[in-house]
């Protein structure tokens, strides 16, 4: 029974090119576009400003050698004001302040002292990926320059550099989750289409229960979700994505994401009478939610009210958990709260879905 419906729905999804295009094609296109747009790795020259407060021979050598690194073009500033102005005008995308006593401290370090080097970097927060590239260059260069492993502190605003950043790593989890969220309009549209065209009634003239129908629609969508996840990950790896955390835990997060998306789609379809209500409604719901939950850009700098609203959406927990796993290699304990919230949300959504479906069966 369930399998008969499942196989029908799988065929309906895969033979409908529009549908499958949206589910698989769009997020992949996103990844490629993001990668090309922000990731022209290495070839591009980054303009950075330097303010040398030390003015020693050592600091001059430091700056000169930094300028020799390919891809970096250094512009010197006398004071922070001018540098900030150029940063705001977009002439440079970051500037670094070399503190007083930099040279002296470096000398001491070379003589085996345990000193900390403090570098301040300010960067354009709209270009976090290019900035992070600069930061990692500075990090490795400074360590090289000091010749020994010193406690180097780089004060970067607004994002710290405690973990290694990689462009694909940063945007891939968000795009995967956005791709899975396309299941909302897919589920909503598909079930509403069948309601509108009388197909649901036709199924209801056969001896099936509402739970069987519900599973007959969720199962194929779940299979589609598995294919989506595998495809997105494949494309991510091809673009150089590296997962620092447990990959199975990441799968679990994605699978939970797929389930709550299917649940929401089902609830929308139980409510909507016509497909032309369900599909646009799903998108209108999805886009702001995707933005608010930090799928495309980080949430850190948002207004607290926005953050509070974002915490109402399961997508926020999905993307936080996924990003923590991919970028920081977090342990389960670090994301367990997000996972529990996702599980509870999924269960609630499905219970509501089953309840609404039961009402849909007999009018």
């Amino acid at each position: 029974m369930i399998l008969a419906l499942t196989s029908r729905n799988i065929k309906e999804i895969f033979r409908n090119r529009m549908r499958i295009g949206f589910l698989l094609g769009m997020p992949i296109a996103f990844m490629l576009i993001f990668n090309v747009a922000f990731g022209s790795s290495g070839e591009e020259i980054i303009n950075v400003g330097i303010i040398d407060l030390d003015n020693s021979e050592i600091s001059a050598t430091y700056i000169e050698n930094l300028g020799n690194i390919s891809g970096i073009n250094i512009i010197s500033y006398d004071n922070e004001e001018n540098a900030l102005k150029d940063l705001k005008d977009g002439n440079i995308l970051a500037y670094m302040t070399i503190p007083e006593h930099f040279g002296e401290n470096m000398m001491l370090i070379w003589n085996n002292s345990n000193l900390e080097i403090d570098l301040k970097i300010k960067y354009d927060e709209t270009l976090p990926n290019t900035a992070s590239k600069f930061i990692s260059i500075v990090t490795s260069y400074t360590l090289q320059f000091s010749r020994v492993s010193i406690p180097l502190r780089i004060d970067s605003e607004p994002i710290n550099i405690s973990y290694e950043k990689n462009l694909v790593n940063f945007f891939a989890p968000g795009i995967v989750i956005f791709g899975l969220m396309v299941l909302i309009p897919t589920a909503g549209g598909m079930i509403t289409h069948d309601k509108e065209k009388g197909f649901m009634e036709r199924i209801l003239t056969t001896p099936v229960t509402s739970t069987q129908i519900l599973l007959g629609y969720s199962l194929p969508l779940f299979i589609v979700a598995l294919i989506q996840i595998a495809t997105y990950m494949g494309v991510g790896f091809a673009l150089g994505m590296k997962i620092y955390g447990n990959i199975f835990l990441l799968f679990a997060v994605y699978i939970l994401t797929a389930l709550w998306c299917i649940g929401i789609g089902m609830i929308i379809s139980a409510w909507a009478k016509r497909e032309d209500q369900a599909e646009p409604f799903s998108w209108i719901f999805m886009i702001p939610v995707a933005m608010l939950s930090g799928l495309w850009f980080p949430l850190e700098n948002m207004h607290p009210v926005v953050k509070a609203i974002a915490n109402l959406f399961p997508s926020t927990y999905s993307v936080n958990a996924a990003r923590a796993l991919v970028l920081k290699g977090s342990e389960f304990s670090a994301i367990s709260n997000s996972i529990y919230i996702l599980i509870v949300t999924t269960v609630i959504l499905f219970l509501v879905g089953i309840f609404l479906f039961k009402k849909l069966v007999v009018k």
Partner: protein, 296 residues
């Protein structure tokens, strides 16, 4: 044996009474037609009988089951062909039939055999492997109909089964339905008088949710329509005495006795050029009872 029985069946939609206190008794093996104008309540009746709508009041028995209490039992024995064409667009005809067959728990082999027979009978075999969105409207319609037959149900609800079909396909379907006569219980709705007349054992004329007449086609015609009418063309017809009318230079006589008429008219000096009789039609019965024309 009664196959379908309703008691005081009523459906209200926010104050609008779509079906009003319907009492029906349809015998096993009978073909019963519901004939009525748009909005009469035919589809609503079928939906209640097939457990898609709960009645506002009243009882429904399908064989030994109560349709409200035991919908799953009822659904096992019925086949429903909806008024709209309802098929799965991206499947082909085989797959559409297979889906309904499997939902009725048939095994794959039986589904195959039945599908083959149905597709052949209704002339769909040639295009059976095309996704159905590529079929013509009439072909889709035929597929939608045979999806109600795949599991060989004892009771069939056919809501306007031949809507939008060409005469040839319509006749093929009539032939097919006739084969079931006496064997399956069929409730069909239709707008085609000829269809109701030719196929039905009994006809219920429904208007504004009520059955306004119910009998065999023959008796309905006998009871409600004018008598057989004889039309005579010829010379001197204006001189004929008696209760006749002249319409379009033709003498209209409401009497079926052609022999008597010919004798009488020749006595009165009429030279007959042509003479023909008009049978009463269901259409007349319908207009007589409901005061409405049917859409065709």
């Amino acid at each position: 044996m009664i196959a379908i029985e309703t008691h005081g069946l009523t459906k209200e939609f926010n104050g609008l009474i779509a079906v009003d206190n319907l009492n029906l008794k349809i015998k096993k093996g009978e073909l019963f037609s519901l004939l009525g104008p748009n909005g009469a309540g035919k589809t609503t009746t079928i939906k209640m009988l097939s457990c898609l709508l709960n009645p506002t009041h009243g009882k429904i028995r399908i064989l030994e089951y109560d349709a409200v209490e035991q919908p799953y039992e009822v659904k096992k024995v019925i086949g429903v062909s909806p008024q709209e064409t309802v098929i799965s667009e991206f499947l082909n005809s085989w797959e559409n039939l297979e889906l309904i067959g499997r939902l009725h728990r048939m095994d794959k082999k039986t589904i195959k055999e039945r599908s083959k027979e149905l597709l052949e009978t209704l002339g769909l075999m040639e295009r059976a492997k095309d996704p159905v969105h590529k079929l013509s409207g009439g072909m889709k319609r035929r597929l939608s109909l045979i999806m109600a037959l795949i599991h060989d149900p004892a009771i069939l609800f056919l809501d306007e089964p031949t809507l939008g079909l060409d005469p040839q396909s319509r006749r093929a379907i009539w032939e097919y339905i006739r084969k079931f006569k006496g064997e399956k219980t069929i409730l069909l709705t239709t707008h085609y008088m000829e269809e109701a007349d030719q196929l039905s054992d009994r006809i219920g004329i429904i208007d504004e949710g009520r059955i306004v007449a119910l009998d065999t086609p023959e008796r309905l015609k006998e009871r409600y329509s004018k008598k057989k009418v004889v039309l005579v063309e010829g010379e001197n017809i204006e001189n004929v005495k008696g209760k006749y009318t002249i319409d379009n230079n033709r003498l209209v006589i409401e009497d079926g006795d052609i022999k008597g008429i010919v004798e009488r008219l020749s006595k009165e000096g009429v030279i007959i050029k042509s003479i023909k009789t008009e049978e009463p039609t269901l259409e007349e019965v319908f207009i007589e009872i409901t005061g409405k024309e049917l859409r065709e």
